[in-house]
Symmetry: C2
Subunit: 565 residues, 2 copies
């Protein structure tokens, strides 16, 4: 239990930024896991780090994606000097196409693989972004900001941390990070570079909080190889391995196991095929000639000679793996003795879906190997032990935990304190909270408005809290619609009312009582001389709502329509 | 990887039960976690073990409870000799009031605490069930069935296993079980009794599968005591402990810690107050005089002198704890430095809700202690190591894993095989699969229909799959309603169409294009001489549905109403 400053922070707009000071505002990614986007301001100029999406929760039905809220910068688009992408995961690059709609010529700085993934995504949006390749060790001046990039190890190749130098001081932003000391590609997180920067003096350290609550250290990625090898070796039927479609090193180890045991490999799922193609083209994935087959060719091979690498490790209902678990996949039907490996984490909120897939596969006779019964996954984010290394290397004056929910941010802040950072120099700032670095001291000075921006189908932002609240009511209880045409001179109904319900009951007689009740109410409103259609509709809503609450103890939406004739 | 018989099993109705054979059918609880209910049949007579509820998932919106499907027995109610309740958890007793509606004079056999909890529940349903108290060690003839009861340790006091003897053989049903070797109340699971029964010969062993995938052993419940004590000792502000409202031994340890550190205790939440009252009355919970205070009294005490024991450990949105996390609780507002202990598991599917509560409390400044950062919970179900003890004690001829999803059932079956049970004598039978014990061999012989029976508000069963599917559509996309009155002689619209959408868009202009489109379509149907209101409605639905899919790429429900005048 520490003495960290707690509570959600200021609620009022920030003061004007003092000259020579640096301002930091997250428009997403703090207080939540996803849609990472942090805006740095110095001397009237802006630098953005990352621009990702968040995936919706159950209380956001029908939503496809959630974007960072651009309102805080939408009047200052011409002040943006550039966008830095730390790596190619969706929660860091997924919202870029939406930002490009506002700033088509935005200068985007990323590593080779990050830029390649973004280019592929932008192509789907028919955009050709202005991509500038940067690499570890490189210094680059971007407008008012002097940037330096550092190699970082994560669950995707070619990730970067970025140092941002301005006259206000030095900021180091880790992006997503871990400290695998035996990385598959030999590309270590540049702890030595961080130490050197620490010698120089880091004024503000923005640190990945995802696993701050997890004690100890993440096992090396390469330790998964022998486990996968063991599974493939023992099995003489089909093997299906599901993992994230951007986890090149995980897939590499699966391919290596397939090669060793004489299996050909088919990629399943659009994003898997696309990303592994990009990785192979860039030399990040080593695919021996003749190893890959397509799904039709795979179907012709003996069961002991094929291995599938599939998407769907999070139980996504439309994914190939979910369709296999339901027995609905066109080309792959699970048979007793097949082996399915979920070489992936379970993102919080996806548990029910993932377990549903595991149960479906098990029911069909598959042996399912997963994180719970074998070491087939390691996290991409530093655990507490690794974070201590980072703090001790960087020795920052101020710390701002990023990437995480409140419990993660706070746990991360407490780690900083244990390495000697003063508790009052740890700033916990959820989305929208303004942090100013003034004379070497970071503090929360105000708050800008940050909401959820929903993408549903083709449109952005028209689905808001009011629509979602209606959807929740409709989803819980359906609706009862009552329609009647009324003569607005007399207030008399000129048709019999129509009553229909959807999502209310399977019983065709469930609403039989409504019609006479509405007719009686209409007789009453007519007798009282009420001719206003709105008032008549309100009266109908009231009487039906009361009846359904009393009779069923339910709260469907009551939708009266009174047509004036 | 074992050679267990796999696949979901037969799909056809079972043959007639041979004379002298025993039939077993689960109407709930196998292939899922919850609504446990198993029916045993011998010589035309029926014995039921447990009758619980299942809590709904996200794809069952608006549903309050899910009941076992009584259809398989509803024509044979007079054949039921009795209902045995193994313990008082909701997933074992929650559906009894609904079965009592069909069989009001049902003979119900349960332990003292189980019966007391059921009596309290039945009272809310204005029922007075015929409760017969049984206890461990007791033999009792119930119609065609000779029963023997065994003490069992679980996360609620006074749990029982039951042996069912008929001329077809001996069945042992564990109920929910674990093997805490240092139980708080000294009441061990009767492994010696199981061994004695094993000497006699157990023909069918129905075994709790919940934790079959978890290696090793469950830590003793009493080891939580010192952890709780440590938390309470270190804190000088308020302490709030949330746990299940039936976990008497957990609450006992909290009370003991409060006593040691001079804190008074207030129970928060209706079920907590009720159940702990019952437990104290029966001598199962030791409450020193003067320890308890009510919420108002608690508010008057110094913060270091009070401890709250609350419901809400699963993140239930209406619970006291969730309201505290949102800052909406009337009497308890969380302050920086308060300590909240979640002394409970996280039931799969509740993760997001629980983490939401943890983040809300953390954001307000509370220190949150939970399973993830302290040993404040142990499971109530035997892990794999304990299950091996059970199999080795009982040495059954046939095994039928119960209480669990497919992955649990299969893991449990594999444990049985490892202790020497022949793989072909392990029957994995999901809900509705009929298992017959004939001449000492159990096998799956058929299937009876078993569906989900939903309780929504006051009514049972009228909400079915069609209503739920409508709710899912409405919840994802809302609806667009178009209403028009049409002269059925001419097919001409006599009003302008009314267009309204709910749960579709926050943008008031989103549906502006619909009215002219519908008017054009109505002109077309009129011109074609279409006067049938159903056909006109279909035409309107088609044109609006196509437009919304093209324009928005969304699928709201389209609800056309054509009123004949």
């Amino acid at each position: 239990m520490s003495s960290l400053p707690t509570g959600p922070g200021p609620t009022t707009p920030p003061p004007a930024l003092p000259e020579g000071a640096l301002r930091v505002v997250a428009l997403g990614g703090i207080g939540e896991v996803g849609r990472n986007m942090t805006v740095f301001e110095f001397g009237g100029r802006l630098l953005i780090v990352d621009c990702g999406v968040l995936f919706p929760e159950d209380d956001q039905p029908g939503v496809d994606l959630i974007l960072p809220d651009f309102r805080a910068i939408e009047d200052r688009l011409e002040d943006i000097d550039g966008l830095v992408l730390t790596h190619g995961h969706e929660d860091h690059i997924g919202a870029v196409p939406f930002l490009l709609r506002l700033v088509p010529d935005l200068k985007i700085y990323g590593s080779r693989f990050t830029n390649a993934l973004l280019a592929a995504k932008a192509k789907e949006h028919r955009q050709r972004p202005n991509l500038i390749e940067v690499r570890e060790g490189e210094h680059r001046k971007v407008g008012a900001f002097d940037l330096e990039f550092f190699a970082v190890n994560h669950s995707i190749p070619d990730a970067l941390a970025v140092a941002i130098r301005t006259p206000a001081g030095v900021v180091l932003h880790t992006g997503d990070i871990k400290l695998d000391q035996l990385p598959l590609d030999g590309r270590l997180t540049d702890l030595a570079g961080f130490s050197r920067l620490g010698d120089e003096g880091v004024d503000l350290f923005c640190v990945d909080s995802t696993n701050a609550e997890v004690p100890g250290f993440v096992m090396p990625e390469r330790d998964i190889g022998p486990v996968l090898d063991d599974v493939v070796r023992k099995v003489d039927q089909r093997v299906i391995v599901a993992c994230f479609a951007s986890h090149v090193h995980r897939v590499q180890q699966v391919l290596d196991a397939a090669v060793r045991h004489g299996r050909r490999v088919a990629f399943v799922g659009r994003s898997m095929v696309r990303n592994m193609g990009i990785a192979a083209d860039l030399g990040l994935l080593n695919v021996p000639d003749g190893l890959l087959v397509n799904l039709d060719q795979a179907g012709d091979l003996p069961e002991s000679k094929v291995l599938f690498v599939s998407t769907g490790s999070q139980g996504e209902p439309l994914s190939a793996l979910s369709r296999m678990a339901r027995g609905e996949h066109r080309q792959i039907s699970i048979r007793s003795g097949d082996t399915v490996v979920l070489a992936s984490s379970m993102i919080p909120g996806n548990e029910t879906a993932v377990f549903g897939v595991v149960n479906g596969l098990t029911r069909l006779g598959a042996n399912v190997v997963h994180q719970g019964n074998a070491k087939v996954h390691v996290s991409g984010h530093a655990s507490a032990g690794e974070l201590l290394y980072l703090y001790n290397a960087v020795r920052p004056s101020n710390v701002m935990p990023v990437h995480g929910e409140w419990k993660h941010l706070r746990a991360n802040g407490e780690l900083a304190v244990r390495t000697g950072v003063a508790p009052e120099n740890v700033v916990i700032a959820e989305d929208g909270v303004v942090v100013d670095l003034v004379d070497g001291k970071a503090s929360r000075t105000g708050r800008v408005e940050v909401g959820h921006v929903y993408v549903d189908g083709l449109s952005v932002g028209d689905v808001g809290e009011s629509t979602l609240s209606d959807r929740l009511v409709l989803g819980e209880g359906g609706f009862i619609a009552i329609t009647v045409a009324v003569d607005t001179n007399t207030g008399r109904a000129v048709t019999r009312p129509t009553v229909s319900g959807r999502g209310f009951s399977d019983d065709p007689k469930a609403l039989d009582a409504v019609l006479p009740m509405v007719e009686m109410e209409l007789a009453r409103t007519e007798a009282e001389g009420i001719t206003d259609t709105h008032r008549i509709a309100q009266a109908v809503r009231r009487v039906v709502g009361r009846w359904v609450a009393d009779t069923y103890r339910r709260r469907p939406m009551i939708v009266p329509t009174v047509i004036p004739v």
